[in-house]
């Protein structure tokens, strides 16, 4: 039937009293359309599979990656803490001796309420590249032990779910920060609060009072809520209650 021209008064395409249907052209067009539909369909299916794989990666792939990174950071910290600190004639207070570099660890964070073995490193920076491997110190906020606000952000889910239990912290729970020189013990001052992601006042040296002179030494822990969304931020605040020096530091 291909290439046959049908002529008749009741055929749909008429030209000067006769009608012509080019079936080969119609077939070529149909083949092109079906090929295009098949290619688009296969591309959509492939894209769907890739999205599903990406979700699987977020669920199960980021954890092992974070564990590897944590092992690496912990080894890096332990190694660097064994080395002699750079000499100085006048030794400043320990908190001022802490040096930070973007993406590099400088302390351990321990929260016994999350479990006796719960421990993560704290690295400098809170961009995704940092938070995907460790809780991070918010640049511009104070360092452990300093007067003001030492802010640490971490993922609620993915990257080992470091702050999954953060909304469950209560007044009196302890938060420990181990640095090269000291261990800082912070006591949680109240129940968690929820703020908008744009509310940066929680990062002020005196939270909510920009420009105020800090008298307390605070820690602020930050994560997302609800899990898997960036709708809100959960804020937990603690105050420094003890500093324990390390032998030889």
């Amino acid at each position: 039937m291909l290439g046959v021209k049908l002529i008749g008064p009741d055929t749909p395409f008429c030209r000067g009293g006769t009608s012509v249907i080019d079936y080969s052209a119609l077939m070529r067009s149909a083949v092109k359309v079906s090929t295009a539909i098949r290619v688009v369909g296969e591309a959509c299916l492939t894209g769907g599979v890739i999205v599903a794989l990406f979700l699987a990666y977020l669920l199960w792939g980021t954890g092992p990656r974070a564990v590897r990174a944590q092992d690496h950071f912990a080894a890096q910290l332990n190694h660097s803490w064994q080395a002699k600190p750079p000499g100085a004639r006048v030794i400043p207070p320990a908190a001022d001796r802490i040096t930070v570099a973007l993406g590099q660890p400088f302390a351990f964070l321990r929260i016994p309420a999350f479990g006796a073995k719960w421990r993560f490193t704290i690295i400098e920076g809170t961009a995704l590249a940092q938070l995907n491997v460790s809780p991070g110190h918010v640049p511009g906020t104070q360092l452990p032990g300093q007067a003001g606000n030492f802010a640490v952000a971490g993922h609620r889910v993915t990257a080992g779910n470091p702050f999954w239990w953060l909304p469950g912290l209560r007044r009196g729970d302890m938060v420990y920060v181990d640095t090269r020189y000291d261990t800082y013990a912070y006591r949680v001052t109240g129940r968690p609060t929820w703020v908008a992601p744009s509310d940066l006042s929680v990062l002020d040296p005196v939270p909510g009072h920009p420009g105020a002179r800090p008298r307390q030494r605070l820690i602020t822990l930050i994560t997302c809520d609800p899990a898997w969304t960036g709708t809100s931020r959960v804020i937990v605040t603690g105050v420094l209650v003890a500093v324990t020096g390390k032998p030889g530091a």
Partner: protein, 45 residues
């Protein structure tokens, strides 16, 4: 796309299936160890 891939692969059905499996594993490894970490560091997940 997949039909074309099947057609251009040499060998019989079994050999083609093995080649496709190897190809899929390579693509999966590239996604898992390179593309997905990059995307999760970049896309704000």
């Amino acid at each position: 796309m997949y039909a074309w891939l099947w057609r251009v692969l040499p060998g019989g059905t079994g050999a083609r299936a093995l080649q496709l499996l190897a190809f899929a594993l390579v693509v999966l490894a590239l996604l898992w160890f390179w593309a997905f970490p990059w995307a999760s560091d970049t896309l704000g997940t």
